[in-house]
Structure formats: C-alpha cells, structure tokens
Symmetry: C2
Subunit: 235 residues, 2 copies
DNA sequence: GGTATTCGTGTCTAAATAACACTTATTTAT
DNA sequence: ATAAATAAGTGTTATTTAGACACGAATACC
C-alpha cells in the first residue's frame, strides 16, 4: 500500500499577513498579484507549498522572497479551506502572520512584486478571502499584544519608550497615559536603557532601550490572571 | 485556465483532540485506528476532508461519527504538515480541539471505533505526530481556560461550584482556595443558582448552577489586562 | 533670554488579589 | 438521641496592582 487511493488531493498555499510599523502607523504589506486569476489585484503575499517543505518553511521562504529577511517573527494563524474559496481549483490556505522592522526590508524586492505598505484603515479590496484573513490577523495581533510583548518585533533593535507607546496606541486605537505606560513597561524588566538618546523626534531626546534577550525569552509567555501561578503557559 | 497545473496536490485530514471531564479527571478520547498503516495503534479520531466540505464541517462530521454529538464546542488549533509525517503519502492534518460532556456521548459508537478515555497522565504512544498534537492541545487548553470561561463546555448543563473547582484543579494540577475561587467565579455574573442541590457528592449537598447564556456569550472574550479597556478582542 | 516642545518622573486613591478559619447541613455510627 | 465525620458555604484583612492626575528638565529655535 503506497497511497490512500480513494481520497481527493488538494492544493495547499501559504499566505502571509505582514505587519510593519513606520514610527507613525501600523501597516500591512500587500502585493499586486502577478498571475491569473485575479492578476493585478491586491493580495497577500503567498505561494504554493513545495513537495519537500513543511508549512513553516514555506512561509519563511515566501517572506524572504518578498522582504529579503530571514528569522522574522512569524506565527501560524489559521487555515482557510472552504471548497470554493479559490474559483479555479480547491486550494487550502495556511495563513501566517509576521512582524517585520520596516527599515530592514529591501525595497527593490518589493518593486518586483509591486508591493506596497497600506495603512490598516485603507486596506483595499483583496482577492478571495484575503480581507477576512487580514481582519483575523488584526484581531489576533490585538489579542496577543495585550498579553505578550510581541510588538517589540516590529521595532528596530534600539527604540524609545515614546515609540513603543505610539505603537500600542496605534494597535489599540486609543490614547495611553505615558506615566502609567512607562511604569508598567519598565516593571517587566524587559528593557535595558542605553546611554544614547534619540534626538530625531524631540528636542530633549528620548533614551534608547534594548530588549534584555534572556528576560524577553522568559517573559514571552507571562502575564495573565485567573489562575494564581499560571507558570508554563504557551500560545 | 482551470487548474494551477504545475503544483503538487496533497491529502488533507482533520484530527480531533477530544477532551472530557468525568467529575474526577480531565480525559482524552482516543481510538484504535481501524486501517493501515498503523492499524490497531492508538490514535486521535480523524478522517480525510471530503470534496465538498470545509475543514470545520469535516471536524463536525468526524466528531459526530465518534460521539453522536452535534454542536460541540470546537476550535481550530494548528496545521501539521511536515512532508514525512505520514509515511505512506504526504498528508496535511488540520487539528481541532473539542470539549464534550462525557455523560452525553453515545457509548455504542465508541465501541465501534474501539474508543477509550485516557487520563492525561496515561496517554499511550500514538501514531505519527499525534502525541505532539495532544501536547499542544493541552497547552492551548490551559492557556485559554486561564482567560476565558471555556471549561464550562466540559460540564453538564447543571453543575456545582465544587465540581468546577475540581476541574480547574485538574487542568492546572494545583490546589485552589475555595473561598477565593467561588468569589471570583460568582463575581463574573455567569452563574445562576438553582434551588436544587447535588446530594451525590456530599452530605450537605452543593447548589446546582446554570450558565446565564447571555452573559456567557458576552463575557466569553473578556478578562485580560495590559491595555486599560481591551474591548472587542477575540481569539 | 524667552518660548515652545517633548521627555521623564511621583503621589494618591480605588480596586483586585491572596491569605486565612469558622459555622452549617447532613449522614452515619454509637 | 447524641456525637462524630464530612463537605459546603461564607467574611475579613493585608498586600499588591491599576488608574487618575501635574509638574520640572532638557534642548532647539527664535
């Protein structure tokens, strides 16, 4: 026996919801699809999974293709598999959301794919069920970021507290009190203050911080309530 | 153009991680696989996705096959897709975790599949990567249950506070203070006390409670911290 | 030197959490 | 009938955490 003979086989794609933060707004990287069907329509970056790679590897490959980056923070989100979602042929899509530092990605690659960053309030109509994917990714982003320090993945290695606060304010579409915000953030012990200051964005200058890699790893799954000592939970 | 001609197609299965609570322990429903490869080995309940159904529909169908139940609480967990995970032929598995009330399920069906409930500490070696799936499901269960009132899905319609507490203690392998636990639980407003008492498990008897369906729906996505008013988050 | 801008910090109040022990209802045994 | 055993139910206090709130410091520009 070498095949489950009677069963049907389907195509499997990977689609990536790529978030970035330019210092002002949270943005989404979209491409203009280069092939039929729906050629030239806006779409998430994606591709078919290849015979010898797993879904994670496919997602990494696709992210690298578009951004030139490796080791990007990335997480499997959800599988979309309604039979008619792709009108040509049944295709399953495994979605990943990814966070990149917009300053690091290679612009020339994005030209090749006709990629553009979109403000989340101006996301155009996308092919297939991609708008639904984006919406789910936004929700998941908000959910996770409320509990875990993932938004640092959107920032450069050195960042200032006002920058992170702007990012949180963007994600939650709200205004935060900077005294309470910085106190909470610093109390996690995640941040190491640098001597250098960022003079770009203010006259006084704001201290740069870096993440403490050990504590970052440890605390990645922390926070929470309901259970007194919830040790060892993970997403 | 009717096919993405050059791409390879793969089999897609759905596997269910089914949890139940017998009043004492949290348990897992496993079957003895009825076909090759790995016939007669312990396995999660699963099946191939059919041409005209989506993944959710497939999971519902499979759950119904084994338990006789419909409308079971169920959630997509993760896709496992390493190329070699099934030695016969590449097969993607979309996993769902599900919670059932053990008292409701139909035993004769489980005989047909040679199903048995296993204590989570005695899970046998399973086929392929199913042990990994179980482990991930346990983690996700602990994660979600710390934030959202999902464990009620494991209980019958009427339940007592000592019962829920035992369930939480089981899930987190810890001992909770009953005064603090019941205060926190009751403060959610989720529970409606019945006049009737459960006399099975104690001499004094414990009041039965039911969920308030409206509040249950509203509060399903509540809790959380980090962001002052995290309104409208979802899993 | 004055003004405008943004950074950085401290206090007080309210709410939530965690630790802790006794009384009540009922059954069973003496 | 009385006593003993068992599990249910409830209240207080101390500590911690969260949220509201305002001013001084550094610097660039005029």
């Amino acid at each position: 026996m070498t095949r489950y003979s009677k069963q049907t086989r389907v195509l499997v794609a990977v689609d990536c919801i790529i978030f970035g933060f330019d210092g002002e707004h949270l943005k989404l990287l979209l491409i203009q699809r280069g092939f039929e069907p729906e050629k030239n329509k806006w779409s998430l970056m994606g591709g078919f999974i290849e015979p010898h790679e797993g879904p994670e590897a496919a997602a990494s490959r696709i992210l690298k293709q578009l951004t030139g980056l490796e080791g990007v923070y990335m997480e499997q989100m959800h599988v979309f598999g309604e039979p008619k979602r792709d009108p040509i042929e049944r295709t399953l899509s495994i979605t990943y959301f990814a966070f990149i530092d917009v300053h690091k990605y290679e612009k020339q690659l994005s030209e090749e794919y006709h990629a553009e960053w979109f403000h989340l309030k101006d996301v155009p109509k996308l092919i297939f069920d991609h708008n639904e994917m984006v919406e789910m990714a936004r929700e998941k982003l908000r959910y996770k970021a409320a509990l875990h320090p993932i938004l640092f993945e959107l920032l450069p290695e050195k960042f200032t507290i006002p920058q992170i606060q702007t990012l949180y304010e963007n994600v939650y579409d709200t205004v935060l009190d900077k005294r309470n915000f910085s106190r909470k953030l610093l109390s996690t012990g995640l941040l190491i203050r640098q001597d250098e200051k960022d003079k770009e964005n203010s006259k006084k200058g704001a201290y740069f911080y870096k993440l403490d890699p050990g504590i970052y790893k440890d605390k990645f799954q922390s926070f929470l309530n309901f259970i007194p000592n919830p040790q060892a939970l993970s997403a």
